[in-house]
């Protein structure tokens, strides 16, 4: 049996590195290693215009508004186009918070200033007066694995989805995309966007495996994933969901 492998591309690790999102890379790496699947992680930083077509999985994390402006000019230099074609090609993307917003058309601040983003998927984000902060909990649509995800959101942008894209899931507790329509995140082809820090993957192993499955299936046709002992992960996952359902979780 030949060894399977996944090549992960971590985009802008030096800039979009807040809120522990690098834990997602660590999580993917370990879950692949534990199953004997090779995993290679490369970092693509600002100014690096290397070929993105060789990668199977892309991760973009969250960052500060200030640093996102630095990224805009880099995206325009060609990287944006490469990202777009990788998404159209069905590659898996996990994009969190700022990285998620960046995949949409634009971010409009309270004062009406508009920052043009990539427009990879049909959605946009509008700045608001208050931050949406706290532990939250949503259920993925059946098309995105159907699992329950618990995480921590911290954003002031409100994201509204347009035609042709689906939400990643529906809220059970928290604000999600915008605090109005009970949606959370986005799913477009194999692009998964979410506001969930925490980081999202270690505590939601079912979702982590769904992403891994999606990536392997695209690359190799159907692949059977060996089960792992997730008792430590699920204990934390279930405990937090119980706290939220009891109304004992943190919310600002």
């Amino acid at each position: 049996m030949s060894t399977k492998s996944i090549k992960i591309c971590h985009i802008y690790p030096e800039a979009l590195n807040l809120y522990g999102d690098r834990g997602n890379i660590l999580c993917l790496k370990k879950r692949l290693e534990w199953r004997g699947i090779d995993c290679y992680v490369s970092e693509v930083k600002i100014g690096d215009n290397s070929d993105l077509s060789e990668y199977d999985f892309f991760f973009i994390g969250g960052g500060q508004d200030f640093e996102q402006e630095v990224l805009l000019s880099d995206l325009k230099s060609g990287k944006g186009r490469s990202i777009k074609s990788a998404v159209e090609d069905g590659k898996t993307f996990l994009c969190i918070c700022g990285g998620y917003q960046m995949m949409g058309h634009y971010y409009e601040t309270k004062d009406g200033n508009r920052m043009e983003f990539l427009g990879v998927a049909n959605f946009a984000t509008i700045g608001s007066e208050y931050r949406m902060i706290g532990d939250y909990f949503f259920k993925c649509t059946p098309e995105s694995g159907g699992c329950e995800i618990v995480g921590f959101e911290n954003h002031s942008g409100r994201t509204y989805l347009g035609e042709g894209v689906a939400p990643l899931g529906h809220l059970i507790y928290g604000y999600g995309n915008n605090g109005d329509d009970d949606t959370e995140g986005v799913r477009y082809k194999n692009l998964f966007g979410s506001y969930s820090h925490g980081p999202i993957l270690p505590k939601n192993p079912e979702f982590a495996d769904y992403l891994i499955q999606t990536t392997l299936d695209r690359k190799y046709g159907h692949v059977d994933l060996a089960p792992l002992d997730d008792s430590v992960e699920n204990d934390a996952h279930d405990h937090m969901i119980n706290l939220i359902l009891k109304g004992a979780a943190n919310k600002n």
Partner: protein
């Protein structure tokens, strides 16, 4: 006092004392409730009860409490008994409580000097009321993100606070690009302190490459957005930064460490102040305590006090409340070191993995409001430093988010048999000492308060509010 009703002052101070007395009666070291009850009677009470005092304010993300504690020792060395909010209640309410309780009922302060630890966000409320002569900003790291949102916001909060007291001398960390940027936005006189390209910095084991991939709180020029060049790093984003595009770069500080010799218990350093070299012994290990020592020294200088008193007292300084505090329980040495953000936590783990003696580590993680509800920062910490350390024999996890910490350790390749999760503090106390190895507890803020109460009663030590001079007497 004319438009300010003496009756209101009287009521406010009375209310504060009453609340404090009641809380003590019920055996709780409440430090903010008394201030809140004073505030309900008189919003500006703090201005009244601090009038005419000489005040040093310490703010910034890391090292506030230790810096204050060092300053207090130096004052005492100089024969001055200053007011200070040692218990770490550093919001408007806690600071008001401290000042109100040290004033006469008519609102006159009983002491002439004060050292005030102030939360970054509270500075703009506190500073205009107490009109400090000196404001120290220790550094800026990511901290309690969900309370402030973003680090730039914190920086702006501090800037606003400073601009309200333009007379105050600003003592700033020259090695922190965020902190140092405050100098150009305000009209205050500025005094920089920092660590130069010392032997420690040159021998820093992190290569530029490793520094690059580790999360940084300030990677890009705060003025123009270009990535900084560094001639050296001391730790995290602190060091010799310069922007290749505009002229923003680290300034040569007035007070600069030029050489460091460190052991696991103390540091011997040489400091250049203006053009003189002085040798200073700091009775605490670790680089971040050297930063605390020079922040304190810079403030002491700026307040016009006798430098030699500060230098003498630094040699005998011992850890302050909870930041690095020793207990003996079950014949086992227990050290408690507060950790609340990635930079501070990584420094502490570096310290543990440099001990070269067997130990037990205890990681206590809470997510209460004072800790920050967002605990994802634990994934920005290199717990691998102790997981891979052969001298680290066991790791206990505890606190309201112990389960999250357990996952973090699992993904750091920790062996399952070396990890134990114990939620009850009482059980934790006996379990962690059963191997008869030195124990290092790394709690975040509210976890520390809880553990300290339990350790204090188990070891017969006073609770902190009963003994304000605890730090000096006990060690």
């Amino acid at each position: 006092m004319s438009e300010h009703s003496i009756f209101k002052t009287f009521l406010a101070i009375g209310a504060c004392r009453l609340t404090r007395g009641l809380l003590r009666l019920f055996h709780r070291g409440g430090t903010t409730l008394p201030g809140r009850s004073a505030l309900t009677f008189d919003k500006k009470i703090l201005e009244v009860v601090s009038q005419g005092m000489h005040i040093i304010v310490v703010t910034g993300t890391n090292g506030k409490t230790t810096t204050c504690s060092m300053l207090r020792n130096a004052f005492q060395e100089s024969g001055i008994d200053p007011l200070s909010n040692i218990s770490g209640a550093n919001l408007l309410s806690g600071i008001t409580a401290e000042f109100a309780s040290q004033a006469t009922l008519s609102g006159k302060p009983k002491k002439s000097y004060a050292i005030v630890e102030c939360d970054e966000g509270a500075l703009k409320q506190v500073a205009p009321l107490i009109k400090p002569e000196v404001i120290v900003v220790t550094n800026l790291f990511r901290d309690q993100l969900d309370r402030y949102g973003e680090i730039m916001h914190t920086l702006n909060e501090i800037r606003t606070g400073i601009s309200l007291v333009p007379e105050a001398v600003l003592c700033l960390n020259s090695d922190c690009s965020l902190t140092a940027s405050l100098a150009s936005d305000v009209s205050n006189p500025v005094y920089f302190f920092g660590i130069g390209k010392t032997t420690v910095a040159e021998n820093n084991t992190d290569t530029a490459e490793e520094q690059d991939s580790s999360p940084s709180d300030a990677k890009y020029c705060i003025r123009c957005g270009t990535e900084y060049d560094y001639s050296y790093h001391t730790y995290a984003h602190l060091g010799g930064f310069s922007c290749p595009n505009c002229d923003y770069k680290r300034k040569r500080p007035e007070l600069e460490v030029t050489s460091i010799e460190s052991t696991s218990r103390r540091s011997d350093i040489i400091i250049r102040i203006a053009d003189t070299q002085v040798r200073v012994h700091v009775g605490l290990p670790a680089l971040y305590n050297i930063y605390n020592a020079i922040a304190a020294l810079a403030a002491f200088e700026s307040a016009g006090l006798d430098r030699q008193k500060m230098i003498t007292s630094l040699a005998s300084v011992k850890s302050s409340f909870g930041r690095m505090e020793g207990f003996i329980y079950n014949n086992v040495d227990i050290q408690m070191i507060l950790v609340k953000n990635p930079a501070g936590c990584n420094q502490t783990l570096d310290y543990l993995s440099s001990l070269n003696e067997e130990y037990v580590a205890v990681l206590c993680l809470n997510d209460k409001t004072a800790d920050g509800h967002d605990i994802s920062w634990i994934w920005d910490v290199d717990h691998e430093k102790i997981i891979e350390d052969p001298f680290c024999k066991k790791i206990y996890v505890s606190g309201t988010r112990a389960r999250d910490m357990k996952i973090r350790l699992k993904y750091g390749n920790a062996k399952e048999e070396n990890i134990r999760m114990i939620r009850s503090n009482e059980k934790l106390l006996s379990a962690m000492t059963e191997d008869k190895l030195p124990v290092y507890i790394l709690p975040n803020y509210t976890a520390m308060l809880k553990l300290r109460t339990i350790l204090s009663s188990a070891t017969g030590r006073n609770e902190f509010w009963k003994d304000q001079k605890y730090v000096n007497k006990k060690h």
